[in-house]
């Protein structure tokens, strides 16, 4: 026993033995967490693994592990349009990320750092956009896109994703910016920085955690969005993954190996992005919304 431990024991301050109910409670909690993890991970693993099997193997024993690791289904899926869908999804998601985050950050800066008349009204107007249901707006939006000549183009989706995500993204970034000390803006103003320079060189770099969170949230939305993608695109060259995958299923309804492979390919980028950025994701959300 070390001197410290001896002293602790003498003082009656040693580590108290755990109560049995605490151990049981902890074990149950851990069991629950493991069960939840299995619940989430098993279907994903099952999907990815079935992509390495043939259609026959899947139908013979749906829950067995692959006996021969074959990339044939993945290669076939890639050649049967998935590569095009991935390219469309990457383009739409990538461009709408830039437009959404830039517009939202600039709007949030205006709402939090400048004096504009009727500011609460403007804030309410922008954030009120979160209440707007995309389904309700579908008919006029289709007409608009047709009139603008944007129907069945990537721009239709980029425009819609930006418009419908700006309110929520502004809401998140605004909450974060409200907590940034105003002295920084004033110090920069004393240093001769313009509003644009203060935004770009001071405020934006300090908002990095919430910007990363917004980017991830936007990726999750745009990558998986189905309604707009289904209605505003109708050719394989413009369709994104969620819509493209359904067409794959209708064309190759029986080739489930290929469908699983395509689904795995579509899920992979999201999973990778999340793991690479989860540190920012959690920090940005907690710092932005809570105090």
């Amino acid at each position: 026993m070390t001197a410290t431990a001896e002293h602790a024991a003498e003082d009656g301050m040693g580590p108290a033995p755990r109560a049995p109910w605490a151990v049981i409670g902890r074990a149950m909690l851990q069991a629950l967490l493991v069960a939840m993890a299995v619940l989430v991970l098993y279907p994903l693993a099952w999907m990815a693994l079935n992509g390495f099997r043939s259609n026959t193997e899947i139908f013979n024993d749906p829950f067995a592990l692959p006996q021969h690791w074959s990339f044939a289904a993945y290669a076939a899926a890639w050649q049967n349009g998935v590569s095009q869908f991935v390219a469309s999804s990457l383009l739409v998601t990538g461009v709408s990320i830039v437009t959404t985050v830039f517009i939202s950050a600039w709007a949030a800066y205006g709402l939090t750092r400048t004096r504009i008349p009727g500011q609460p009204l403007v804030t309410g107007f922008i954030l009120g956009g979160m209440m707007l249901s995309p389904t309700v707006a579908l008919v006029p939006l289709v007409r608009m896109m047709q009139d603008f000549g944007l129907y069945n183009t990537h721009w239709a989706l980029i425009l819609l994703y930006t418009a419908f995500r700006v309110p929520f993204t502004t809401f998140l970034i605004r909450a974060y910016m409200l907590d940034l000390p105003r002295d920084l803006d004033e110090a920069a103003r004393m240093d001769g920085a313009s509003e644009g320079q203060i935004f770009r060189r001071i405020i934006l770099p300090l908002c990095r955690p919430i910007l990363v969170s917004c980017v991830i949230l936007h990726i999750l939305f745009a990558w998986n969005e189905y309604l707009f993608a289904m209605i505003f695109t109708n050719s394989p060259s413009t369709q994104t993954l969620p819509v493209g995958l359904t067409s794959l299923m209708s064309k190759h309804g029986t080739d489930f190996a290929q469908v699983f492979a395509a689904m795995t390919i579509s899920a992979l980028p999201i999973v990778i992005v999340f793991f690479l950025t989860q540190r920012y994701f959690v920090r940005g959300l907690t710092e932005g919304i809570g105090k």
Binding site: L184, E186, M190, D191, G192, A193, L206, R208
Partner: protein, 362 residues
Amino acid sequence: MAHLTLRDVRKTYGHMEVLHGIDLDIPSGEFVVFVGPSGCGKSTLLRSIAGLEEISSGEFRLDGRLMNRVAPARRGIAMVFQSYALYPHMTVFDNMAFGLKIAGLPRREIRARIERAAESLQLAPYLDRFPKALSGGQRQRVAIGRAIVRDPKVFLFDEPLSNLDAALRVATRIEIARLKQAMPGTTMIYVTHDQVEAMTLADRIVVMNGGSIEQVGTPLELYRTPANLFVARFIGSPAMNVIGAESLGGTAVALDGGGITSAAAPLARGARVQFGIRPEDLVPAPAAGAPFRGRIALVEQLGEVQMVHVELDGTGAPLVAKLAGTLELAAGDAIALGHAPEAAHLFGADGDRLRPAARSAA
């Protein structure tokens, strides 16, 4: 060289006026301290000079040029913020270089200026560090350095020591005093609510209250001849004792509660006045004929001196005396105190000084 002139400067937020017509001249190279209680408008006045607040009416001129609508960065003014306001995502070097880069200075010139400032502020080893890796005192020095490199005509300090602990506060105060000595041509304006900072640093002090200037003067002028009761109570620690009194004619004054004392100058008989005496001007006196007699309520022994809190006989009014630490005094003891006539300060019923008292005994 920069001469500041403020004429009838007012600042309003909606219907609330927080600066009520400030008139002030600050000659080139002077170190002026704005001092006053919280909410007196001193920071608003400083920010108006910086250009961070727009003046609602009146004029602010710098070397004769009207500055009301000039952007902060174009005024030739640098400011050190209370919170330091260092850019957390930039190194010390980049923090100091930010304003110079925006001004479009050549890279070599920027480096030379920063190295010079870093040398004088002992920041040279920390130029590559981020602010979070610096102590409070070092951050404060970076904030000062960021202001120095811009080579401003006017330096503004907004309560720069309030985030530092007591020891560091003294050390940084001395550094600021040295900085002023090293930059004799630069006008400096310093805002604080700490009168020790004001007394030790200022060439002149501007005492503010409720959005107006109460008095402008050198530290000793304010201490010896406060213009009114507010300044009398605000300057000096502990605060001046003020007791209601009535003139008996000549220099004799009858204090409320029965004591009779004398002032330096004669007053009209029967005049109602406020009698002020600083704690450090009170001395132990024989009980017979002493103007202040009472019982000690509390003794705060500080070693060299002791603060003796007395309840006066008759009225029970509180009185504080700053006496030598060697005197054997205890709570409950009876005590009698007197003062030199020239140490007395007399104020009218409106709180304004009646006659200038002669030099304080302290």
